[in-house]
């Protein structure tokens, strides 16, 4: 369904482009029909005035330098693709100012009534405007090319990072240890309770189905992620019994918000991996929403022996949030508890 806001934005963009096109057409018409009249009134041709200007090397170098500074300032303050008309107006304004300065300097150097606004001044202005427009345009195109190359490189880096993240996810879930433990639990359940075994297989299938579904998606809704987390936690309960307890307190209002797939599951997995999990002292893990952040928190029951690398999973999640949402996750490690805040986006 077409978004009216999108339609309005497209119409505004079209009008802006039409204005720019009209300006170029006007410049062309003036150059072909009106400029020759000005030059013939002065008794010279455009080429003659242009050659005289180009023979003044110091002035040409000054004009080029000013043009480069103009492009540098505009490019630093206004990125490409943000506001084309504003950028165009800034360039036009800059070219006009530089042309006036150069035209005046040329007259001063010629010591020929520098402040007289006669036809010769107009000719100098036209030539200066023409030269500066070419310089600014060329410099702008070079900067644009560099920006385009940087965009292509950034995109390649992002795609590589995302592919790496998905690879790590799949590697973790297809990890022989995870599969081995899951199959061990399944084997136990088959002999003790076939109904539970059947449920366990379904949950396992749902877990892997979610992973495969996320393979060609960059974000998941909070609802999808919570459903996946519940399946995963149920599987983990079969292994750890009541050694840990996950309390999910997420209002349905936030269900359509976006998260990085498997981010919450990774945090819960980390909590279980790095803390003591026992029925005597269950590890409580809470998942809630506060101030537009999804908060996953658990008290610290550190294991005596460290199990595997720490921090890599969090780094991967943070990297994905930076790429997708340009935001960082917040990790708070206190004396007694460990909290990770994932930003939520619509």
């Amino acid at each position: 369904m077409d978004n009216p806001l999108e339609k309005k934005r497209n119409l505004v963009g079209f009008i802006e482009i039409f204005i720019i096109a009209a300006v170029v057409l006007l410049a062309r018409i003036l150059f072909e029909f009106d400029a020759p009249k000005v030059f013939s009134e002065g008794g010279v041709t455009f080429s003659a005035v242009l050659l005289k200007f180009l023979n003044n090397y110091s002035l040409v170098i000054l004009a080029v330098l000013l043009d480069l500074i103009l492009i540098y300032v505009i490019t630093r303050n206004l990125s490409y693709g943000v506001a084309p008309v504003k950028r165009t107006l800034m360039e036009f304004g800059g070219i006009a100012i530089i042309s006036i300065i150069i035209a005046f300097l040329q007259r001063i150097m010629m010591m020929n009534k520098p402040f007289a606004l006669d036809v010769y001044m107009l000719m100098s202005l036209i030539v200066a405007f023409f030269i500066n427009t070419i310089c600014v345009t060329l410099a702008d195109l070079i900067c644009y090319n560099r920006w385009k190359n940087r965009q292509a490189l950034d995109l390649a880096v992002k795609m590589r990072s995302q592919a790496n993240y998905k690879y790590q996810l799949l590697k973790n879930q297809l990890n022989p240890h995870f599969l081995f433990n899951s199959l061990n639990v399944l084997d136990y359940l088959i002999h003790t309770d076939q109904n539970r075994a059947s449920d366990y297989v379904k949950k396992m299938a749902n877990v892997y189905r979610y992973l495969l579904a996320m393979d060609d998606r960059t974000t998941a809704t909070l609802e999808e992620e919570m459903e996946f987390v519940k399946q995963y936690v149920d599987m983990m309960h079969e292994r750890f019994a009541s050694g840990f307890d996950v309390d999910i307190d997420v209002d349905r209002y936030y269900y359509h918000y976006k998260v990085v797939p498997c981010s919450v599951q990774t945090l819960i997995e980390n909590a279980v991996k790095h803390n003591v999990v026992s029925e005597k002292n269950p590890l409580p893990i809470s998942v809630s929403v506060k101030d537009d952040y999804l908060v996953v928190s658990n008290p610290l029951h550190p294991k005596i022996e460290s199990s595997g690398k720490s921090g890599k999973g969090l780094d991967n999640i943070n990297e994905q949030y930076r790429i997708l949402f340009n935001a960082d996750i917040i990790v708070e490690k206190g004396d007694a508890d460990f909290t990770v805040r994932l930003p939520l986006f619509r």
Binding site: I20, Y80, P84, T88, Y144
Partner: protein, 126 residues
């Protein structure tokens, strides 16, 4: 129009870009042939077509319109100078060809300018 939509194949996209350029070259040639001898001349119409070509190429590649002014300006004025000089030269070389000198020069100039614009706006290979 699916014919002029961007694909994942860079070669196909380049081919489509050149097709756009060729279509505009044809339009330039026809316009020059029809309007060169008129009172208004062919300059304004060819300018409009050149600006339209730059617009279409930028739109085809979904490039930002920040460089539209620069590219349109360069294409229009380069086209004017190259076209005028080229037509003068062709008339000296082949005076008997008449209007066809202008048509040929217009087409060649359009293809050259279009190629230059395409090289600027096309996306880098991934």
């Amino acid at each position: 129009m699916y014919l002029f939509s961007l694909t994942m194949n860079n070669r196909l996209n380049t081919a489509k870009g050149f097709l756009i350029i060729l279509l505009f070259a044809l339009a330039h040639a026809v316009t020059c042939f029809l309007t060169h001898g008129t009172r208004l001349g062919d300059g304004i119409w060819l300018t409009i077509l050149t600006i339209a070509m730059v617009f279409c190429l930028i739109r085809f590649y979904h490039s930002p319109f920040d460089v539209f002014l620069g590219l349109a300006f360069m294409a229009v004025f380069a086209g004017y100078f190259l076209g005028s000089s080229g037509a003068r030269w062709m008339s000296c070389a082949k005076p008997g060809w008449g209007i066809w000198n202008n048509v040929i020069v217009t087409s060649v100039t359009t293809i050259l300018l279009g190629t230059a614009v395409l090289l600027v706006v096309q996306k880098k290979k991934r």
